[in-house]
C-alpha cells in the first residue's frame, strides 16, 4: 500500500490499486480530478479517467450508461453536488435499476467543508440517501478507513456511497485495520453506563470525551458506526441492549442520519433514552477544529451530552 494522507489521497490510492487489478474500474470526474488527488491516476490510466466537466447530473448519468456495459464507475466529487444536485440521477438511474456504481462524496460535514462555508459544507447527504432504496452507505472515520471503504465498495454488487472529508481528518485507525462489515466497531470499552455511537470525522472527539468522563467515574463505550441501514444490524442491536444510555454523534443533520438510524433500532429493540448530537442549523465558514467546537462537537460538549 502506498503512503497517503487523508480521505482524498486514500481514495486515489485505493482506486489506483483497484484499477491495477481490474481494468473495468473507472474514475468518473466532474472536474474533480485534482480535488480527488487523482492526477497520477489519470496519468497511469488515461482511458479509465472519464472527465464530464462541472456537471454532476450528467456525470452520474454517464456513470449509469457505463455501468450497463460492465464498467465499474467510481463517481467522486463534492458530497452535496452529488447527493443534492444529482440526487434524482442517483435515485432513478442508479439506485432504481440497482446499477453497480460507486460514489465518493468529499467535503462532507462541517469538518469537511470548513472554511469554504455553507455552500461547500454538506451535512444532508446521509439523510438524503437514507431515503433511497438499494444504496449501501459507508461512513469511514478517517483516511485509513476511507482507503479500505473504497476497496470494500468494489466488492459490493450495487450502488455504494462513501462519505469522505477534506483530507484534514484526524487519523483514528491504523492503516491495516479493515473496514468492518458488521457496521460497528467498539474502539473504547470503559463500561456501559453510556454507549456513544459516533460516525465519521468526529470519532476522535468522541474518544476524547470518553477519557474526560472516565476521570469523573462515568463508564463509557465508544463505538464507530461505519455503515448505516445495513442488512444485518445484529451487532449494533446487541450493543444497544447492553447500554444504560445512548448518545449519537455525527457531523450531519440531526434528522435522517446515523442518529436517526440508531434511534429507530433502539425504539424497535430496546427502548431507552437516546441523545443525539447533529446539526440543526446552517453553519458558517471557519477552521475545521474551531467550527466543530463551536457547533457542539468539542470533547467537552460531547461529555456534557453524556452527563445530561
Amino acid at each position: 500500500m502506498k503512503d497517503f494522507k487523508g480521505t482524498r489521497e486514500a481514495f486515489a490510492t485505493a482506486i489506483t490499486e483497484l484499477t491495477e487489478k481490474n481494468p473495468e474500474v473507472m474514475f468518473i470526474s466532474s472536474d474533480s480530478l485534482k480535488a480527488m488527488r487523482a492526477v497520477p491516476y489519470a496519468e497511469a490510466f488515461p482511458a479509465n479517467y472519464i472527465e464530464c466537466g462541472i456537471a454532476e447530473q450528467g456525470t452520474v448519468n454517464v456513470a449509469a450508461g457505463l455501468s450497463t456495459c460492465g464498467i465499474i464507475p467510481f463517481v467522486a466529487t463534492y458530497a452535496g453536488f452529488l447527493t443534492m444536485r444529482a440526487c434524482e440521477q442517483m435515485r432513478t438511474f442508479i439506485a432504481y435499476p440497482n446499477l453497480n456504481v460507486k460514489f465518493v462524496g468529499i467535503n462532507a460535514g462541517l469538518i469537511g467543508g470548513e472554511r469554504e462555508g455553507v455552500t461547500h459544507q454538506f451535512y444532508e447527504d446521509v439523510s438524503i440517501l437514507s431515503a433511497i432504496p438499494n444504496f449501501t452507505i459507508f461512513l469511514p472515520a478517517d483516511g485509513n478507513q476511507t482507503y479500505h471503504a473504497v476497496k470494500e465498495a468494489a466488492a459490493v454488487n450495487g450502488p455504494v456511497y462513501i462519505r469522505a472529508g477534506s483530507g484534514r481528518e484526524v487519523d483514528v485507525y491504523d492503516k491495516e485495520t479493515p473496514f468492518s462489515l458488521d457496521g460497528v466497531r467498539i474502539l473504547k470499552d470503559y463500561g456501559r453506563d453510556t454507549v456513544i455511537f459516533a460516525s465519521g470525522f468526529v470519532l476522535d472527539r468522541a474518544l476524547e470525551a470518553a477519557e474526560i468522563l472516565k476521570k469523573e467515574g462515568v463508564s463509557v463505550t465508544v463505538a464507530d458506526i461505519n455503515i448505516i441501514n445495513g442488512k444485518d444490524p445484529s451487532k449494533i442491536i446487541s450493543l444497544i441492549r447492553s447500554a444504560g444510555k445512548i448518545v449519537t454523534v455525527e457531523d450531519q443533520s440531526i434528522n435522517g442520519g446515523m442518529g436517526s438510524y440508531i434511534q429507530a433500532l433502539v425504539c424497535e429493540h430496546d427502548p431507552k433514552i437516546v441523545r443525539k448530537l447533529g446539526l440543526k442549523t446552517f453553519a458558517e465558514s471557519g477552521p475545521a477544529k474551531e467550527l466543530a467546537d463551536a457547533y457542539g462537537y468539542s470533547p467537552e460538549g460531547i461529555a456534557e451530552l453524556v452527563r445530561a
Binding site: 473507472m26 482511458a47 472519464i50 472527465e51 464530464c52 466537466g53 456537471a55 447530473q57 450528467g58 456525470t59 448519468n61 454517464v62 456513470a63 449509469a64 450508461g65 457505463l66 455501468s67 450497463t68 456495459c69 460492465g70 464498467i71 464507475p73 434524482e88 440521477q89 432513478t92 438511474f93 432504481y96 435499476p97 440497482n98
Partner: protein, 274 residues
C-alpha cells in the same frame, strides 16, 4: 427493408400503441405516434440487435429519453419478438405489469435504460458510447429525445460530454414535433432552433422530415459516415401522426381514445372496414 414494408410496420406499431393505451385507459398516444417511423426504421432496418439475446454485449443500444412515448417501444419490442410469447394484452400501467408507465430496464426485456424523467437519455447514452469505445466495440447508441425535453439543463451536460469525447457512435434523434405538455415549444420557451443549438456544441446535425422513412434511412446513412463527432438528427415530426383526429392536437399529449376513436384507429391504421 423496403420502405413500403417499414411504413406498414410503423402503422402496425401505431395501432398497437393506441390499442394498449385504449385498453389500459391511460398513457401518452400523441408523443408515441410522433416517433413511430423513427422507431420502426431503427428496430426493423438499422439496429444490430438480437431479440433472442437482448443482453448481447455487441448490440446497438436504444434509449427512449422521452420515456412517456413508451407504448411505441413496447409495440416495437413485441413485433420484433423480444417476449417469449407475443403480448396480446399489455396491461399498460397496471399493477404488476411488465409494461410500466415509463420504461424500466429491469422490468421489460429489451429496454436498455430506465427513462422518462426528462433530459437524461443523452448523458446515459454518452456513457454507453464511451464504454463502447473503451471496449473497442463498434456498436452504436441511439437516443430519441423530445424537443420540449431540450429545456432540461442536463440535456446540455450530455451534449457537452458527447462532444468532448468525440462520440461518433452516439446518434440522437430529436423529435421536433413542436409541442410539449403545456403547449407549443415556441410559446413555452421562445424558440425551437434545435439544429443550430446542438450544432453550436460541435455536433454533426442533419435535419429531416421525421415521418418520412426514406429521409430517416438517408440520415442514418450519413450519420454512419461521420467521424469524430456525435450526430443529432433533428426530425420534424407530427405529434399524433397517422390518426386524423390526433395529428397536431396537443390534447393528445396524454389521453385515452373513446371506443369510437379506437375503431377509427383500426380503419386508418389497419385498413379495417368502415
Amino acid at each position: 427493408m423496403e420502405t413500403k414494408q417499414l411504413q406498414k410496420i410503423a402503422d402496425t406499431l401505431r395501432y398497437e400503441a393506441v390499442r394498449m393505451v385504449w385498453e389500459g385507459k391511460d398513457g401518452h398516444p400523441g408523443p408515441a405516434l410522433s416517433i413511430a417511423d423513427i422507431v420502426t426504421t431503427l428496430y426493423f432496418d438499422e439496429m444490430n440487435i438480437d431479440p433472442d439475446n437482448p443482453g448481447w454485449e455487441d448490440r446497438d443500444r436504444f434509449i427512449l429519453s422521452k420515456g412517456h412515448a413508451c407504448p411505441i417501444i413496447y409495440a416495437a419490442l413485441n413485433e420484433k419478438g423480444y417476449f417469449t410469447e407475443k403480448i396480446e394484452h399489455f396491461n399498460l400501467r397496471a399493477l404488476h405489469s411488465d409494461f410500466q408507465g415509463h420504461p424500466v430496464s429491469q422490468k421489460t426485456v429489451g429496454i436498455d435504460s430506465t427513462s422518462g424523467s426528462l433530459g437524461n437519455g443523452i448523458a446515459i447514452g454518452a456513457g454507453m458510447a464511451i464504454a463502447g469505445k473503451f471496449h473497442k466495440k463498434d456498436y452504436r447508441v441511439f437516443v430519441v429525445v423530445g424537443d420540449g425535453e431540450l429545456q432540461e439543463g442536463v440535456v446540455w451536460e450530455g451534449i457537452n460530454v458527447a462532444s468532448s469525447h468525440k462520440l461518433d457512435n452516439l446518434i440522437v434523434f430529436v423529435d421536433r414535433n413542436g409541442w410539449q405538455s403545456g403547449g407549443s415549444v415556441e410559446d413555452v420557451i421562445g424558440g425551437n432552433n434545435v439544429a443550430q443549438r446542438i450544432g453550436a456544441f460541435g455536433w454533426h446535425t442533419i435535419e429531416i422530415d421525421g415521418n418520412d422513412i426514406d429521409q430517416i434511412k438517408k440520415a442514418l446513412a450519413e450519420a454512419n459516415s461521420v467521424k469524430g463527432k456525435p450526430i443529432a438528427i433533428v426530425a420534424d415530426c407530427i405529434k399524433g401522426k397517422g390518426l386524423d383526429f390526433m395529428e397536431n392536437d396537443n390534447a393528445w399529449h396524454k389521453g385515452v381514445p373513446t371506443d369510437e376513436q379506437f375503431r377509427q384507429a383500426g380503419i386508418q391504421l389497419k385498413g379495417d372496414a368502415k
